[in-house]
């Protein structure tokens, strides 16, 4: 039971860090993109990257982080940081493409208003981020769910090392290969519950912002 709690907390931390990093990279990029006049090409490329199979990305990152790869000297392979980086890369396109639409819409309504009422560039940006808060929060939740629910990256560059990089999805996969289906099912249920709880918590927090 202790191990399950351990794995669950580790999963939340790793995916949470990854999503936060991706969020602080993705939102500014989406903001810049939303202001470009001809962003269709870039946004469609980004959108197509949303569905990238996690094993493909995992394999790619494995070659990058491997000792004989270009970033081998960082000693990142099979560490939690590697998973964090990998999952952040995984969800950045998701965050960009979802928040891009929201920001574009908000800019359309509030961008002009901000100029009309005499806001500086920074004030305009703050206003737009504030007005699209709910949507950005939804994008964060989606990204977190994707990060915590992915298997390929955690397995390939995390290595499913006991007490170190074992997260819920890799533990589920191991449970299946051990024939311990009940354990896997239990972890699976916890995973789903976490996704729901996080989403509900963010909704409740956001209600505080709205008014």
């Amino acid at each position: 039971m202790n191990e399950i709690i351990d794995i669950t907390l580790r999963s939340i931390w790793i995916s949470g860090c990854a999503t936060l990093i991706a969020f602080f990279i993705g939102i500014p990029l989406a903001y810049i993109l939303a202001y470009r006049r001809r962003a269709e090409l870039i946004s469609s490329i980004v959108e197509s990257l949303v569905g990238i199979p996690t094993v493909v990305l995992g394999l790619f990152l494995y070659f990058l982080f491997s000792k004989s790869g270009p970033l081998g000297f960082l000693n990142l392979l099979y560490t939690p940081q590697a998973i964090i980086i990998g999952e952040a890369i995984l969800v950045i396109p998701l965050i960009i493409s979802t928040s891009f639409r929201i920001l574009k819409n908000t800019i359309y309504i509030y961008g002009e208003f901000a100029i009309a009422i005499g806001a500086t560039k920074t004030q305009k940006m703050i206003l737009i981020l504030k007005e699209s808060y709910l949507g950005l929060l939804a994008s964060f939740t989606m990204a977190f769910s994707r990060a915590i629910g992915e298997l390929g990256i955690a397995l390939m560059i995390g290595g499913n090392i006991k007490d170190f990089t074992r997260v819920m999805t890799t533990a589920i996969a191991l449970g299946v290969s051990k024939g311990e289906f009940e354990l896997s099912l239990l972890l699976g249920c916890i995973l789903v519950i976490i996704m729901i709880v996080i989403s509900v918590i963010l909704r409740i927090i956001s209600r505080g912002i709205k008014y």
């Binding site: 000792k67 099979y78 090392i161 191991l174 299946v176 311990e180």
Partner: protein, 309 residues
């Protein structure tokens, strides 16, 4: 207003903890140069075949080892045999567990692995439907059993499920087909799944088909009650021998080599107590037989398999 403040405080706390967590991970847990006297943590990475890891033996060995070397953490990366060796070749692991002599031989020649020790063995088993349509229960040898399965399959009475993933088990299966001069690839009854032993056993159970399995995974699944439709039909033939070896990876960082060798030696010299008794409490029989008493014969068998005699 107060709600707004609470939200921003919550957000700050989350960000702060995230950063803290990241820093904490980065600092002490890495493979850093250690002096022998200090108690700082060392991580030795070990790539291994999944079926071996899934038995729980390796975690048990690491646990026992940690009683002597509490500051050495053994990290297991569980993948297929060929992937395990590949990871070693790329310098991402210091020790490899493997049970595919043909592959091991290749990597020894390439100079990737060294300091090999045979640590245990058991037998691959042929499992199949309870009513045994191919009639292999009283086959005279593994080759004979495979020939009987071939005939039954050709007449449409059953299927054969293959790992198809270059694992040790898969390589063994291919070598048996080769010995009897049959190429099953492309036959409608020959299903290559490309998955782990666990999936293959589940599929065999569903399809009431034959397959070759390692003992550990089979016993575990049988005990959990996952395999009501199939059972062990043939085993203990010398040509089904399954030899587990442990190797040191040559380009392992020189700071870690002493610890890696200590781990290998620890397992090698404690086979009888650690490996020989593992699994008795759970399955009634040991999952692996220690190699130390039959070392010469096993080395001979290993060579035979590796060179394809």
């Amino acid at each position: 207003m107060s709600q707004k403040r609470i939200t921003s405080i919550l957000l700050m706390i989350i960000i702060f903890l995230a950063i803290l967590n990241f820093i904490q991970y980065i600092n002490p847990r890495k493979e850093i140069i250690i002096s022998t006297s200090s108690q700082s943590e060392v991580r030795i990475r070990v790539s291994t075949t999944t079926s071996l890891y899934a038995t729980g033996l390796l975690d048990y060995l690491a646990f026992q080892f940690n009683k002597l070397y509490p500051n050495v953490k053994i990290d297991f990366i569980a993948v297929g045999s060929s992937a395990a060796l590949k990871i070693a070749e790329r310098g991402d692991a210091c020790i490899v567990f493997s049970h595919a002599p043909e592959l091991e031989e290749q990597y020894i020649k390439k100079g990737v692995i060294d300091y090999g020790r045979i640590i245990a063995y058991n037998y691959f088993i042929i499992v199949g439907p309870l009513d045994d349509p191919a009639g292999i229960r009283n086959a005279s040898s593994a080759e004979d059993a495979f020939r009987k399965i071939y005939e039954a399959c050709e007449s449409g009475r059953t299927f054969f499920i293959s790992r198809g993933d270059n694992s040790g088990t898969h390589i063994k299966e291919i070598s048996i087909w080769k010995k009897i001069g049959i190429d099953p690839h492309g036959k409608s009854w020959y299903r290559e799944t490309g998955t782990g032993m666990d999936q293959v056993l589940i599929i065999s159970n569903e399809m009431k088909a034959y397959t070759l399995s390692d003992t550990g995974t089979y016993l575990q699944f049988k005990k959990e009650g996952r395999l009501p439709n199939i059972e062990e039909l043939f085993s203990n033939d010398s040509s089904l021998i399954n030899i587990y070896s442990i190797y040191l990876v040559r380009n392992c960082s020189s700071d870690l080599i002493p610890y890696a060798i200590a781990f290998i030696d620890f397992i090698y010299y404690n086979q009888r107590d650690l490996i020989g008794k593992f699994g008795i409490d759970k399955y009634g029989v040991p999952l692996f037989i220690p190699a130390i008493d039959k070392e010469k014969e096993l080395a001979c068998e290993w060579l035979k398999i590796a060179r394809g005699y």
